[in-house]
Amino acid sequence: MRETLRGNRVLLRPIKEDDYEYLAGLKNNMYTQAWNQRLPPNYTAEKIKKRFQEANDKPNSAILAVETLDGALIGNINYSEGVPRFDATLGIVTGKEHWGKGLAEEAQELLLEFLFVERGVQVVRLWTQTGFPWAAKAAEKLGFKLMIRFRENTIIDGQVRDSLYMDILREEYFKSRNLKDNVLGP
């Protein structure tokens, strides 16, 4: 059993007070807002702290900081269960300076393990959009499958883009990782 959400390169931990400034900066950056329509870039540390605390107060959901093992905060990752122990939606945002290094991939892998192995969910979902094609490719690398294309559903960088919904089923997760699933589903 993995004792904490700690991998070989990153760990997922509760958000600390001095994280909020950096995380607000990510929300104000058009590349790292991680939302399928543009949000106003008016996030302050105080505003994002309030948002994150409200989200963390909801049962069966969490927003966690993603930190490298040498202590650098690189972003945040979140999940929210729809029907508890049945389905969860996952989201991640990391600073551009940390892209392309496999850090976000490991963070998501840690959270997927927590959701499937410890929470026992049947499906994990995520949303992205075609304005950032690398995001869907990264999700496919983790085993997510593109299931819904919402045509012309959003505007990114002056272009009309599609929103994408992707998911991974429990048995797909276990099979792709060569793991045995000891929990019988419904």
Partner: protein, 183 residues
Amino acid sequence: MTSKSPRRIAFRSLEDADIAELHRRQNTDCTEELSELLDNKPVWTPLTLGQVKEKIAEEQKKPCTAVFAICHGEEFIGIVEWSGSWDTWAPYAWFMIWPEHRRLGYGTQASKMLLDRSFLQNPGHVVSTVATDWNMPAIQFLKSIGFKDSGRMRRAGLREGRYFDIIFFDQLKSEHLGKGVRN
């Protein structure tokens, strides 16, 4: 030759008597469908009258969202939720007609009215809606009025011991207006 066109329907506000009827329907023949509208989980659980009122109020609080009645003359024949709360560019619309009033053309009328309003009285570019994969009449209906299958959300829930998916549909403004029929 007698015209077989259905009489015109209208949208109007949901009043107390309608909410009482919604409560009755949610507790009898439309439990799952109304639970989806009212975001009631689990969907098989009955709601009290107070809970139905509260759930409608919660939906109505969302920005750019309305829940209202479909009427045929004075008769309350169905319910609509229209929402641009996520994005007015891509609003979402959902409606149901009570079972005894189906297959009479009211759904076709309601959908045309909603699409017109979404694109001509709202800055909508694409409208989406959903149907569960076991609801073949709804799926066939949506396709018949020009919605395109966008894909499916796998394992949206459980029904009779089996997983079901939700199928998403959409229709672009250009596709709707290109049909040349407006209400």
